[in-house]
């Protein structure tokens, strides 16, 4: 680009944490109702939104709820009445609102929620890992895991379009602390353009006195199954919507991300699959270091975790000798170690593919992850380590 364009782009960029980026996205999206409740490390999202509202920059109602269970319940109520809503939480808050997660997807409401991922009690930890997000696995929410502040901004905006098209709630998660509280340059869109990208749409499941419907009915065995299956189907077909919205966003605003991101996978023998900014950042660096050591390394970033993009992932793993998944959560008592490793292993099995792998657990409770650790994983893969769980960084 020309110097003038570069300067213009720089002027429109702000130094923002991922949390603030999320707040700016909410402002651009003309959200109507925001439920506000503090919990580390999401609090600065709602603080920023409160500043926008109190300064008259965002025309939204803030509901200062008395718990996270009420936070999600309030936005579910508001969404049921047809409003565009937002809330944010982490860890214990996400656990407290757990039953309402299922209700939001069951009622097919387009709720958007930001979750800077944080470890779950006990013991209590305010630090980042993905155990809270991974615990929402079967709740029927579309779930993104972003890896940069810019991506958080872009994804929260995309989330509204995806939610309102698929009629499913959407979670945008990212690293607690490592992203929520670190500053990166974020290019902001023209807000009018964002509103044009997110037109208001009619849907059948909305409370209106002129057309009274009952939402949240009691379904006996003759009906429950079909209603829940609709959620499963909607989730599966939402992958197409996610891709389309991302492409449309790219056309409108010049940035898009896809569903998975790959680095040097074209000729890779060994692949590391990671999610979030810190883990994928390390994996990316480690690929280059490993390559210099003669290992044909590649990295894959999972941007959309639910619905699980099995087809796209399997295509990348087709030519690979072995893979490792870096999970920042432990799936306790499971046959696989880490939750996304289990997803990948199942996808391979269902796809009839036999590619061996390693489940690597790292970054638990924000235990530091070093690039050397990821290089070591490539070495382990090359040395034939297979089919076991590796607890990286643990003082065993």
């Amino acid at each position: 680009m020309t110097a003038a364009t570069a300067i213009q782009k720089a002027k429109a960029a702000l130094a923002l944490t991922s949390n603030y980026a999320a707040a700016y996205a909410v402002k651009a999206a003309d959200v109507d109702v925001v439920a506000v409740y503090p919990i580390t490390p999401q609090t600065t999202i709602v603080e920023k939104i409160a500043e926008f509202v109190d300064d008259g920059e965002l025309n939204a109602d803030l509901i200062h709820v008395e718990s996270e269970h009420s936070a999600l319940s309030a936005v579910v109520g508001a969404a049921a009445a047809g409003a565009r809503v937002f809330t944010a939480t982490s860890s214990q808050g996400l656990e407290l609102m757990h039953e309402v997660l299922h209700i939001a997807s069951g009622l097919r409401l387009p709720v958007v929620m930001a979750v800077p991922a944080r470890a779950i009690s006990a013991p209590i930890s305010i630090h980042g890992d993905y155990s809270d997000v991974m615990n929402t696995r079967d709740t029927g929410w579309i779930t993104y895991i972003a890896s940069s502040a810019q991506e958080v901004y872009d994804t929260v905006i995309q989330a509204y379009k995806v939610a309102e098209t698929a009629l499913l709630p959407v979670m945008v998660s990212y690293d607690g602390f490592l992203m929520s509280h670190t500053t990166e340059p974020v290019e902001l869109n023209d807000e009018e353009a964002v509103r044009r990208f997110l037109p208001r749409r009619e849907r059948p499941n909305v409370l209106r006195p002129e057309k009274p419907i009952t939402m949240g009915a009691f379904a006996m065995p003759d009906w429950y199954y079909e209603i829940k299956y609709q959620v499963q189907e909607a989730l599966a077909s939402s992958l197409k919507t996610i891709e389309e919205v991302d492409a449309e966003y790219g056309k409108a605003f010049g940035r898009s991300y896809g569903i998975i991101q790959t680095y040097r996978m074209e000729d890779a023998d060994y692949a590391v699959i990671a999610y979030g900014g810190a883990a994928f950042g390390n994996a990316h660096e480690a690929v280059d270091v490993a390559r210099k050591k003669g290992i044909r390394a590649g990295a894959i970033r999972l941007r959309v975790w639910r619905p699980f993009p099995a087809d796209r992932l399997l295509k990348q793993l087709a030519g690979v000798k072995a893979f490792a998944v870096i999970d920042r959560a432990i799936a306790f008592g499971s046959p696989g170690g880490g939750p996304v490793f289990i997803d990948v292993a199942t996808a391979l099995y269902m796809g009839g593919m036999d590619v061996p792998g390693l489940s690597v657990i790292h970054g638990i409770g924000q235990r530091s992850m070093y690039v050397e650790d990821f290089v070591k994983i490539f070495e382990m893969l090359k040395d034939g380590e297979r089919n076991k769980v590796v607890y990286m960084g643990l003082r065993l």
Partner: protein, 315 residues
């Protein structure tokens, strides 16, 4: 209260709570539902907590509700209604809500209000939402088969406070939910009974009008034949006796001032006009085990409560 309905002939005719619902024969809360929906009218959104009135009226694909209706979960009706209220206000400002001034009413039972729903109720009251919260009180978790709640009175039999050799019914007294609500300094809160339909309907209308200023609250006594253990034709009689014995006083908290309603005001002025508590207690199976001494204890509590309310009313 605003007297909108002076006589029985002023009461609205249109039914907005359809027949065919699965509530028990003689269900007290069902009577309340008919009158809540009638007086609120069609420009109303109902947010219902899990409970008898939710499960018996929304068995998919049948609904008794002829108003827009939302059920989320057990403890969060007030939180969900807060969201509905905020949504309507913001969308109205943005020109996206085209139904005008829509009422938002929460309907919840005693389980969903005294116990599991207390937190979200308190939050909603504190935040000042423009919502009318109606508590239909059948004094136990009836939907799950008669278990004690914070609204169950002392000595009552329930399945979790059975009358046994060591302990005879519920040990604790009924929580003062009106006291809790009044502590939030809401514009209006009142008690009502399904036996006094005109009084109840006027209070609903008044409470709805005051939602302009903030949250309002109604506590309606709604007897349950299987739960209180009496024949189902005596439901209205049970509610009437609850009021006439002073067990369930009728009063309003109106902008900080408490006002007793008849017949409670009458029995405070002249204690001879209060029926003996025994008349309310003895025909109910849940109190059949009470000794005269225990009835005397409960009667003392009733009298003390009336004196307390009378003192508050004089402030």
């Amino acid at each position: 209260m605003k007297v909108v309905y002076k006589a029985v002939w002023d009461l609205p005719v249109e039914e907005l709570f359809a027949s065919g619902h699965r509530a028990c024969a003689g269900c007290g809360p069902a009577i309340a539902m008919r009158w809540i929906t009638k007086t609120a009218g069609p420009n109303t959104v109902v947010v219902n907590a899990t409970g008898c009135m939710e499960v018996t009226t929304t068995q998919y694909p049948e609904t008794a509700w002829m108003l827009p209706y939302l059920h989320v979960a057990f403890e969060n009706a007030a939180a969900a209604a807060s969201g509905v209220d905020s949504a309507i206000r913001v969308m109205s400002k943005k020109g996206l809500w085209r139904s005008g001034k829509t009422n938002v009413i929460v309907i919840a039972g005693d389980g969903g209000t005294y116990d599991i729903g207390l937190q979200s109720l308190s939050g909603m009251l504190e935040r000042g939402h423009h919502v009318l919260y109606i508590l239909y009180d059948n004094e136990a978790y009836m939907n799950t088969g008669i278990q004690r709640s914070g609204g169950t009175p002392r000595y009552a039999w329930t399945t979790t406070t059975p009358v046994g050799r060591a302990i005879r019914g519920k040990i604790q007294a009924k929580k003062d939910i009106m006291g809790i609500v009044m502590a939030h300094r809401v514009p209006y809160a009142a008690t009502a009974s399904i036996s006094n339909i005109i009084d109840m309907s006027n209070k609903i209308k008044t409470a709805l009008e005051y939602t302009e200023e903030g949250p309002t609250f109604l506590h309606i006594i709604a007897p349950c034949p299987p739960g209180w253990r009496f024949p189902e034709e005596r439901t209205v009689e049970a509610a009437r006796l609850a009021v006439e014995t002073g067990y369930f006083p009728l009063y309003e908290y109106d902008h900080g001032k408490i006002r007793l309603n008849p017949p409670t005001s009458n029995m405070v002025a002249d204690p001879k006009r209060r029926k003996p508590l025994r008349e309310f207690l003895k025909f109910q199976g849940r109190f059949a085990h009470l000794t005269d001494a225990e009835i005397g204890e409960l009667e003392k509590e009733v009298v003390a409560n009336l004196e307390y309310l009378a003192k508050l009313a004089s402030l």
